[in-house]
Amino acid sequence: MGVKTVPRHGNSFKDKTYLWAVFSGMRTTLKKFTRNLSDTNCIPTCEYPEAQPDDITDRYRGMHRLTHRDDDSVRCVACFMCATACPADCIFIEAEERLDGIDEKQPSRFDIDLLECIFCGYCVEACPCDAIRMDTGIFSIVAKERKDFILNKEQLLSNKGAFGKENSLA
């Protein structure tokens, strides 16, 4: 084990006058200031309501949606896997028999309480049919009443995927 001697700074006359360090610090801040003043686009701040964020990746877990089959019917088979996996217990499903011959079972009620949801994405991973996804890219969820935060099946089905990916990435 050798001893490493770290060079000590601040003992020279130039350092002890402080003024050089003061001026170099002021130069740094002035450079920032003039750059940001001459072109406010340099500032990374997004002026939110007018300018929407453009850096939402396709792995972003936004509001949920229920996907469709090729014939536009609901893909979900009401297996309850998502509701079982959900750590926040925010998915409420009621199943019914499917009579159109495409499948055996479908949800009659599929509600997600967004106030309970923690956006963990376990439901998406648990789903065996790729029927629930979180790829809508909707990050701002606003409503006036508590009951408006509970999404029903129709609302979930009408949400569109934002990234045009066929396979779920979450």
Partner: protein
């Protein structure tokens, strides 16, 4: 006219102190934001007109005005509790009174001083009131009956006492250099030229005194990096911990006026006061038409630069494009009016009285610009440096600045005696 010319400097003082506070608060916040890569407050608006956030101080002021007048129950001496912010505010306000905003104006055989308080002992007045401001802080700390408040008051007062010495000694060397204690005489000296081409500003004549004075002025106004008196990390808010609403606002405004007063004094002592470089009052009277011509040339250029800057940076939404449009129209109209007025002056010729009023207006503008730039330096420094620890502050004051300023007086005195100026 006579009365107007006497009232005018007082009006100017009010303009430079009270109306610059919102400007300074705005500047502080926006400059801080731009230095830290943020935008700062810019969302306050009246029907979509934001003026880059200049509406924000109005909102702040309204909030402070309509806040509840709250008196903590443990405050025993309510009189002193209310008196303290008034002292701080008044003393910083009054120290502004002796600053000369323009050279003496000669009108109809009278000589008018463009100073709210035309006394010869200017610099002593500033000192007296800067010392008085400490009483407000001490009383605030004591009357608040709060440990943090009294700690803040102790820090502020001991810091002010120790920096006042170095400040006074720096000023003594300036007094030796200028051979006068009247601020107006000092500015007169700074209107001359050194070697024929350098403006004889105090900062050129006495760089060491300038550094000492500027550093002590920062400490004296309790501004960063010497704001240990309100170090929120250890003593909450210092001496104004127990104050709220307008009583707090008075402290706040007093602080900003003190900052303005300090920068006015720095400008007066070291940066030529109202003097425009290379154009002292005499030269301006001789070359008045050249100056008007230069103004006619540079004012539209500045306006154009500002408008194009605004078009580039303030057009991200239709609402702001509309605002940019309105403001640039306003500026264009203003520039056209100013240009036609200047053209009228050029065409019709000027008598000596108009001449001296014109020179006065230019000098006031020059002083205002210099003062704002110095205020910007105050803000700039605040957002560049971390706060000094309290013992470091005292170390700097007593063991570095005090000997340096004594040394400076020594050198200055030797130079003055040897050169026999």
């Amino acid at each position: 006219m006579h009365i107007f010319m006497v009232i005018f400097p007082i009006f100017l003082t009010i303009l430079f102190t009270l109306t610059t506070i919102p400007m300074l608060v705005w500047m502080e916040r926006r400059v801080a934001a731009l230095i830290q890569d943020r935008l700062g407050p810019n969302r306050c608006n009246i029907k979509g007109i934001r003026l880059g956030g200049l509406i924000q101080p109005i909102a702040d002021m309204l909030k402070l005005l309509f806040k509840e007048e709250f008196y903590p129950k443990h405050v025993k001496h309510k009189f002193y509790y209310i008196l303290a912010p008034a002292i701080v505010f008044a003393s910083s306000f009054l120290s502004f009174m002796v600053i000369p905003y323009a050279d003496d104006v000669h009108l109809n055989g009278f000589t008018y001083h463009i100073q709210a308080l035309p006394i010869e002992v200017g610099i002593l007045w500033v000192f007296a009131l800067a010392g008085l401001g400490v009483y407000g802080i001490i009383i605030a700390g004591w009357a608040s009956h709060n440990k943090y408040a009294i700690l803040g008051a102790l820090r502020a007062s001991s810091q002010m006492v120790s920096y006042e010495i170095a400040m006074g000694l720096a000023i003594v060397s300036m007094v030796i250099t200028y051979n006068s204690i009247s601020l107006n005489d000092m500015v007169h000296v700074q209107g001359q030229l050194l070697f024929g081409f350098i403006p004889a500003w105090g900062v050129v004549l006495q760089p060491l005194a300038a550094v000492i004075f500027i550093v002590t002025a920062f400490a004296e106004t309790n501004r960063a990096p010497f704001d240990a008196a309100e170090g929120e990390s250890e003593i909450v808010a210092g001496y104004h911990t127990e104050y709220s609403a307008m009583k707090f606002a008075l402290f706040f405004m007093g602080e900003y006026i003190a900052m303005s007063a300090a920068s006015a004094l720095i400008v007066t002592l070291f940066f030529g006061g109202y003097q425009i470089p290379w154009f002292n009052t005499q030269t301006m009277h001789e070359h008045i038409y050249l100056i008007i011509f230069l103004l006619m040339f540079f004012v539209p250029l500045t306006a154009l630069a500002f408008i194009s800057w605004m078009k580039f940076n303030n057009s991200c939404s239709p609402e702001r494009q509309r605002e940019t449009h309105y403001v640039s129209m306003l500026i264009t109209v203003f520039v056209i009016i100013l240009e036609s007025f200047l053209f009228y002056l050029l065409a019709s010729g000027m008598n000596p009285e108009q001449n001296s009023i014109f020179v006065m207006v230019l000098q006031i503008a020059s002083f205002a610009i210099k003062m704002l730039m110095m205020n910007f330096v105050f803000v700039w420094i605040r957002w560049t440096f971390p706060r000094f620890r309290y013992d470091q502050t005292q170390h700097l004051g007593w063991r570095i600045l005090l000997p340096l300023s004594l040394f400076n007086i020594f050198i200055t005195a030797i130079v003055v005696v040897v050169a026999g100026v």
